[in-house]
Symmetry: C3
């Protein structure tokens, strides 16, 4: 296990990132989530546990009202129905015009051509951050144009790229950090990744350095997962324990447990 | 802490209210819920824990079949999509014609104009009870017509008004009770309020005095929340523990813990 | 309690069935679920706990992509909206043409005529297995044509019929087994039955003897429910514990606890 020494080059980054995610509790940002039906409940509970105020409507008639009064927007493509697509168009237009942060989670784009196409059209709208795994990366990056690494994708799209895996990579093209925290059992809970991306959205609402915000959210999420795994007896209890762990997480635990490189 | 003395004016009310909510276990009423996607699973589980039989379809083609064989109807506006609106129209017509109870939960009407407008049109259809918080109250009450208090709204609309907050107020205009039970952690679980309103619907299916039914359901809900909070370590475990607490709640615990005024 | 003696006629069946369900962990089949909104999250978590990889989209535009890369399909009618019906038509056509397994769960067909009619049209497409309770059986079987028993329905439709109740019956017409495992508290958790049928779908993806696969899945599900009930304090904890129990279930526990006849 790699401990974070106080003179390590990323120690300052870790502190800033931890400050950012803990600020969610104080500021209580409103996070509007257009997310899939499987993830809605768990995502809302994770945001509440972290201190944010979630709203989840996808109705095109009122999405503008909700996004207009939200501090940041999550767009998760995990349920790709007509109404959600229509809502996404309205919501992204609005948040881009208002200059607020929004995050794209292109779930399962590797399994569906229409979804991958929609994801690429959204990436052209400059999301603040995008979070995806290796298979999803391969499905949406323009490899012919040279987007072969997360750094390159981040530079091209002017966004933070968070590439999830056994180790999470967070890069804005100029700065890259790896998060070695987390627990394999997290992958056995549905919508766990979706909820983590929602936490990124909450952190972006309270921190202007988008790379720091993304890093802080994913670090806190991974550490909460570790704490939860220590108490859990399987995937059922893990999903419950991570909510408690996130609500109870303190700066000391985060600093002690952070394994960044 | 204010204990309930046996000669207190509301002691008899408390007993009647507790009888009403416990009757749900014996009668097992069918409760049809048109509710939001975030709340559906937790609401169904809370109703099952209380002894009711939930059904949750929102498909306009078959909503009439379900409402026709249900004992009461919940209309929650937390997801305001086209299909749900259509289903609500059909369902409310049917339940009003059949003379059965129905409850309106105008979630987040303070965040969306179209939703507030729809809520107001539903309030004109005389729901048996309406449950809302202060912000939602302000968005739907006709203040110019003098609807400045829950009592006045209840009298005008001939329904029970349950105003939720740190203290819950339950009034039919003539009788008003305050419930001081509950736990702040309940607000950190998504759909907690929505599920509480579903329990009100179940109690209305088995008790003709609508004020007593509403009071009983919200008292049992708040006491279950207290019991759950005593075991919980955070919002994750609270959401699970409240289901167990509600299923295991007995008359003695309710009478002992009730803090009504 | 009826123990399973090694020379009992069904002992060999039990072993094969247990092998089939445990194979899900090794093979990690992709299971696409068209299921109701109430059940989606719990179903996905149960499949993950068992070792399968769930996908849950119902969007007609992309259902073909998901079903095309899935190993088996679940069709649950618990939310009967227009989009789901359209998705079901596309998905069933595809899976039938590809010769893969699919399972029908005609939830609540006894409460809705249009749903029962749709279920009957799907039964004509020869599902690999169908799971239903007594009321649902009565609503979809063609009694006039003599479909009065699960065996007869299985023979007529050339599918496995799993009739759920206090004792589960699993038959392909030629072979019939009764599963006496399980716990009454399981009926107090929403979508519990729906999730059990999803596990049948996963087992059918890894075992060609459809009767053995169905038996194994429902046996493992019932035993996991028993193990969970031994730890649970009510329906809330039961829903969590069954996920842990299923993830941790081993061959020895299954063989020891199986009560088949």
């Amino acid at each position: 296990m790699q401990m974070l020494a106080s003179d390590h080059p990323t120690a300052q980054h870790a502190k800033l990132a931890i400050d950012a995610v803990l600020r969610v509790r104080e500021r209580r940002p409103r996070v509007h989530c257009i997310t899939n039906a499987v993830a809605q409940n768990f995502t809302a509970n994770l945001l509440l546990a972290a201190g944010a105020i979630p709203s989840m409507t996808v109705a095109p008639d009122e999405i503008a009202d909700f996004v207009g009064s939200a501090d940041a927007l999550l767009v998760n493509l995990g349920t790709f129905d007509r109404e959600r697509r229509e809502a996404v168009e309205i919501a992204v237009n609005q948040v881009v015009n208002a200059g607020r942060s929004w995050v794209l989670d292109p779930v399962f784009v590797d399994r569906s051509q229409p979804r991958a196409q929609f994801a690429r059209s959204l990436m052209a709208r400059s999301p603040t951050a995008i979070r995806l795994n290796a298979a999803e990366f391969a499905a949406v990056a323009d490899v012919q144009a040279g987007e072969k690494t997360p750094e390159r994708l981040a530079l091209d799209r002017r966004c933070v790229v968070a590439l999830s895996g056994a180790v999470d990579i967070v890069t804005d093209g100029a700065r890259t950090a790896k998060i070695e925290n987390g627990d394999p059992l997290m992958a056995r809970v549905t919508a766990m990744g979706c909820a983590g991306t929602a936490l990124v959205t909450a952190a972006l609402a309270v921190e202007t350095d988008r790379w720091v915000a993304t890093l802080g959210a994913l670090l806190a999420f991974a550490v909460a997962g570790e704490c939860a795994a220590a108490r859990a007896r399987g995937p059922g209890t893990l999903a419950i324990e991570i909510l408690d762990a996130l609500a109870n997480l303190d700066r000391e635990t985060l600093l002690t447990r952070a394994r960044l490189s």
